[in-house]
Structures are given as C-alpha cells and as structure tokens.
C-alpha cells in the first residue's frame, strides 16, 4: 500500500496538538458563530493586525492513484489573518473561502486561546460547542450515508 512509502502528511486527530485541534474547529465555524461566542467572553483585549485579513489561493494537491506521487488538482480560495494582542500573543488563521471577518475572528480566538489564563474557559465556551455542532453535522451525513448502504440478500432461483 503506497501510503506506507509516502511522507507523513495528515496527522490523525489524536496526533494533533491542542492548538491544531482548535484551529481546525475555528476554520469550519461560521464567522457569526465565533463572533457570538466571543462576545460572551471576558474583556477582549485590543489587537493589531500584522497581516491581512486577505484572500488568496492554495493549490490543492492530490496523489496519483490516491497514494502515489503528488499532482496539482486545482486551487481553492482561502483567507488568512495574523494579529497580535496587546499582551504580545500572536494569533493566526487560514480558512477556506473568502470571508475576511471569519479569518480575523478565528485569528483572534487563536491568540486568546494561547493565553493560559483564558484557555480553559474558551475551550469550554467557544471551541467545545462549535466542535459539537460540527460533529452533529458530520454524524447527520454519516447516518444518511449509512441508510444507503446496500444489504445484499441471496435471491431464490427459479429452479427451487
């Protein structure tokens, strides 16, 4: 199986750092959902944009045969933002799509989540509910797919 010889690329969820996990959740959340939950967070400090938010492209790569040498499949739009809190913590986000506000709010949340004094509260009040909502969506698709799984049964022949 060729994936054995390919360089390691996608860490399993278990292999991800906490920061990688919250960034993945923020990337899939809507700007409004992040904003609504950040509004409830305690005193958001001032921040300064270091780069962006700006929209650009990422070239998506596939693998020939699914596991062989990589090839360029086509591009996607992404939006990125890097910002710094007054405390000096730097947050970053790159998210699929063209929503500038989404990238900035995700970068802000990323910076705040790196503050040990805030991390637990934000993981519980911001990340956990967003992750749960995303999991519900994934489960709903998986459940619809499961209902279309073919259950084979033996056909009786005419000769019986």
């Amino acid at each position: 199986m060729m994936t054995d010889t390919a360089p390691p690329t996608q860490p399993n969820d278990a292999e991800k750092t906490p920061r990688q996990r919250w960034m993945a959740v923020l990337a899939r959340a809507g700007a409004e959902a992040i904003a609504a939950r950040l509004r409830r967070a305690e005193a958001i400090p001032e921040w300064r944009r270091l780069r962006g938010p700006d929209t650009g492209l990422v070239m998506l790569r596939g693998r020939s045969g699914g596991g062989g040498a990589s090839f360029n499949l086509g591009e996607m739009t992404v939006t990125r933002c890097t910002l710094r809190l007054a405390s000096g913590l730097v947050g970053h986000a790159t998210v699929a799509g063209r929503n500038l506000r989404h990238a900035e709010l995700a970068a802000l949340a990323d910076a705040l989540l790196q503050d040990p004094a805030r991390q637990d509260a934000l993981l519980a009040d911001l990340i956990a509910p967003l992750a749960a909502a995303q999991q519900v969506q994934r489960q709903a698709l998986a459940a619809r797919a499961a209902a279309t799984r073919v259950q084979f049964f033996a056909l009786q022949t005419m000769r019986t």
Binding site: T9, V58, R63, A69, F71, L73, T82, A147
Partner: protein, 362 residues
C-alpha cells in the same frame, strides 16, 4: 499578418451589453435567480464550473453561473480570470482520500468489501422520467438515517496492492509539474497529465474515455471504486511551520482497474487509472480515470495507436477555456488577413483569365 487595431463600435458594444443584461434578467414578473439558489440547488453545475475553472469556491462558481446565464464554459472562464487576480499563498499537503468522510462508496469489482457498498445521494437508479410533480413540491420527505458502521473503508486499490496484484503508483517524485506556472514540456509527466485532465472539459474527457471503451486503445476497465465525500485540507503556513486544517473540500475519486498482461521485466498485474474531481462528479472522475489509464500506454510499453493514448493530443485539446478562446476568436475582425487572401485569389483569377484570353487569341 499583423493585426491592425480597429477602432469604433463602442456605442454598439455598450448597447449590446445592455441588451444582454436585460435578457439575463429575463421576465421581470419572475423573481430574480439568486446565486445562493444556484449554489444550493444547481450543485452539479457549480461543481463542474469549479472543476473546469480549476478553483474550488462554491459561492463564486454560483455567481459566475448567474453572470454567464448558465453557460458553464463561460462561467469557468470567469473563474479562471478571477483566479489570476489573487496571490497564491501556498500548496496543500496531499489530500488524504482514505480519510474521506464517506457519503458514497461503491465498487463494481467486489460485492462484499470492508465498509460495504454505500450508494449515497445518487441518481443511478432513477428511471430518467421527467418529474412533473417537482415544481409543486416544496420540501421533500427527510432522507432516512441509520447507525453508521465505524469500520474503516479502505480503498479497493489498496486492498489489491496489499496482495501485490496491482502495479503500484510510483511514490513522490519531488515537486509536481504545475501547468498554471510553466508551459508543459513533452513528454508530459503523469502529474502534469492528471492536472490537465482534472481541469479538462467534461464532455471531452467523456468522449475520450468512451473511445477507449469502443476499442480505440482499449484496456478493459472495471470501476474498482468510486468514493465521494469531504476531505480536510491541510497547509503549513510560513508563520507557523506546522500543518493546520483549513476546512473541507468535497471530492469524487475513481479508481479504474485494468488488465495488464505484464512485460519481460514486469509480472502480470492489474493497472489503474485515476480520477479525482471537485464535488459529486462520477462521470468526470470515471472519464478522467479512463483517460489517465490510456495515457499510461507509453509508460507501460503498450502500443500507442489511439487518440486517447496520445498525451499531446489529449492535453492540448482538453481545456475548454483555451479551446473556446481559439475557436471563438474567429468571429473577431480579421479584415486585414482576409483582405490579403482575397487579393491573392483575385490576382490568381486575373492571371487565369489573362492566360485563357492569350490562348484564345492564338
């Protein structure tokens, strides 16, 4: 022949565009078509435009379809033009289709395989009868749900590879060619061919793939597996230096399995053709896989006799943006070119007449 700029016609062009805009809107008594409706309800068109426009952005593709009045090649052209205005931030890590959140997964070669046959939201078993009740229907009944099987769904190609029955795809060969950055040099490496096919015109890919089935470079394909679902996209931003997950793209992957009789140096094994397409796109992914396999003829030491096996022919004509540009440029003014041609023909006529008169006089 040098092209001589033609001035004039500005007013006519402005009037033509105004008329086009009015026609695009259609009957004002009928409500305007919103891009969100196209995005949500014309998903297959959106995905085709993303594939041929080579840009994954559903909202943008929907807007392009609205602007192009449903002309999907024109819409893909709009996406291609838009992408040239954006900087490229980087490349993704190779997408891991084994980790796909499966919505559909079928195999035509194994009935019972780990994870089973999952039809997904397919039209495969419909009767293709026009549904006259559709306009009256608002919300369809909810699709049934069942408990998902947590068992992994290995790719069929990997199952065959584990038994050594399949010719492995060569592993990473460094930076893959990029048709958007450098004009491809012949012979095209497989990475360049796959990129060209991935953004090729679906009708062209379908016709080329069909030609291999009808005997023009045939290799007796089986649909080893078709799977569709969301795959997460990971990039390594410069400022972080580690991989981050930036969201999902929905892809259809097709693995065609073909006979291969072996050569002096290689045992008889199956070979594969590979298709990967944006969105739910069985036809595109299958056609791409057929053509990818045909284009491996040279690499596999097979005779190259058919159009679908000729990389230069296939990849030079698969791109509908390039093709439409060259075909449709014929309607732009060619007055000077034609003037030179018509003068040449008139001269020949005059010479022939003079010759005939001279002969008659003798």
């Amino acid at each position: 022949m040098a092209y001589v700029a033609v001035k004039g016609g500005e007013q006519a062009i402005a009037a033509a565009h105004a008329w086009r805009a009015e026609a695009r809107r259609g009957d004002p008594a009928v409500s305007k078509l919103e891009p969100a409706q196209i995005e949500g309800q014309l998903g297959r068109a959106v995905e085709r435009v993303m594939a041929e426009g080579s840009l994954y952005d559903r909202g943008l593709a929907a807007l392009a379809i609205a602007q192009a009045e449903g002309d999907l090649i024109e819409a893909a052209f709009l996406l291609r033009a838009y992408r040239t205005t954006l900087p490229r931030f980087g490349v993704s890590l190779p997408l891991d289709t084994t980790a796909m959140a499966i919505q559909r997964r079928i195999s035509a070669v194994f009935k019972d395989l780990p994870g089973g046959q999952v039809l997904g939201p397919t039209t495969d078993y419909t009767h293709r009868l026009i549904d006259f009740a559709l306009p009256a229907q608002d919300l369809p009944p909810a699709a049934p749900m069942a408990e998902p099987d947590p068992a992994p769904m290995p790719r069929v190609a990997d199952l065959l590879a584990a038994e050594g029955l399949i010719r492995p795809d060569p592993a990473d060969a460094g930076e893959p060619a990029d048709l958007t950055r450098a004009p491809p040099a012949l012979p095209l490496p497989r990475a360049a061919r796959l990129q060209g096919l991935a953004r090729g015109d679906e009708g062209f890919l379908l016709g080329m793939g069909y030609s291999t089935q009808r005997g023009y470079g045939g290799s007796h394909p089986f649909a080893g597996e078709i799977r569709m679902g969301a795959v997460s996209v990971e990039i390594i931003p410069d400022e972080l230096g580690f991989a981050i997950d930036i969201g999902d793209v929905v892809l259809t992957e097709c693995q065609m399995v073909n006979q291969f009789h072996g050569t002096k140096t290689e045992p008889a094994r199956f070979t594969t053709g590979y298709g990967l397409a944006f969105g739910q796109a069985d036809r595109r992914a299958m056609s791409m896989a057929l053509v990818d396999r045909a284009l491996q003829a040279g690499d596999l030491g097979e005779d190259v006799t058919a159009p679908a096996q000729d990389a230069e022919f296939v990849l030079s004509h698969a791109d509908n943006i390039e093709a439409t540009g060259f075909v449709e440029h014929l309607k732009l003014p060619h007055y000077v070119d034609f003037q030179s041609e018509i003068e040449a023909v008139r001269r020949l006529h005059a010479q022939a007449r003079a010759h005939a008169e001279a002969e008659a006089a003798e």
